[in-house]
Subunit: 154 residues, 2 copies
Amino acid sequence: MTRPYAQALRQLKACGLRPTRQRLALARLLQDLHPRHLTAEELYQEARRAGIPVSLATIYNTLHQFTSAGLLGEIVVGSGQTYFDTSPHSHWHFFDKTTGEIMDVPDHMLRFARLPEPPAGKVIERIDVVVRIRDAAAPDARVRIAEADVDATD
Amino acid sequence: MTRPYAQALRQLKACGLRPTRQRLALARLLQDLHPRHLTAEELYQEARRAGIPVSLATIYNTLHQFTSAGLLGEIVVGSGQTYFDTSPHSHWHFFDKTTGEIMDVPDHMLRFARLPEPPAGKVIERIDVVVRIRDAAAPDARVRIAEADVDATD
DNA sequence: GTGTTTGCAAAGTGTTTGCAATTTA
DNA sequence: TAAATTGCAAACACTTTGCAAACAC
């Protein structure tokens, strides 16, 4: 189940990150967990479960180092905490408001017909898409407003 | 410059929000500021500048009430704080990593060719797009990795 | 009057930081 | 041995909350 150190070791070296106990173990754990979206706290719990001795501070450090090394992706959904994605290249996500779950939107399900030009002197670094979903039954705040708006017509 | 209470009053009534001093004044201020992206703290400063006696707690309450009423939009960029948009219907944004600025992506500059089906039992509430940009000159973490990756080939 | 809203200060949440001890090269 | 990394606890930034006083209807 747990993969050999070889791949993790190679990855770390390729990124110029010293292959310390914690980084190696976390790299392997993340491989085992893949594909997955998780928070720092969740990775911390997974690590403890896997018997990896690591502090939460190091989890945060490592998560950021792996992310800027391109080993992980960062998902911004605005739920309060930061999610990390073991698939660093998927940028389209469903965010289920009802359950708090994050799911990948398969690449073929979403396509752009036109992408914006960046403003002068700027380049596009990446494009994030968050498709916010909820239970079909759950109430939608906007509906109430749309109704209320009727007698507020200018 | 400052618009009459009429519109703000109508808006609040239409939303079922009691037109209190603070809510009325903030609604008007937001109209004057439009179009704009701002944080709670920024609105607080603007309010003080405009002589509106209001506490930060009320700014937060009001911002959320206005947002769930559809009067404001919420922009999630992951910069630590929540941004609110006086244009509740624009969901495409540039986020300038270098300056921290948020700008609207004009609707005609971005178009989808295909939108995803929501998972069974779910409906799409809204779709957010964040186009992350930076100064053309600024360093890109990914480049270093791409180079490092060369001698890490499987 | 009655229920709602406000403002203050305190509490909370997720994340970052300072620094001594430990580990890696 | 020199430089990088770790772990702890304290510090942090932003946001929310509890509750008494003020306000709207």
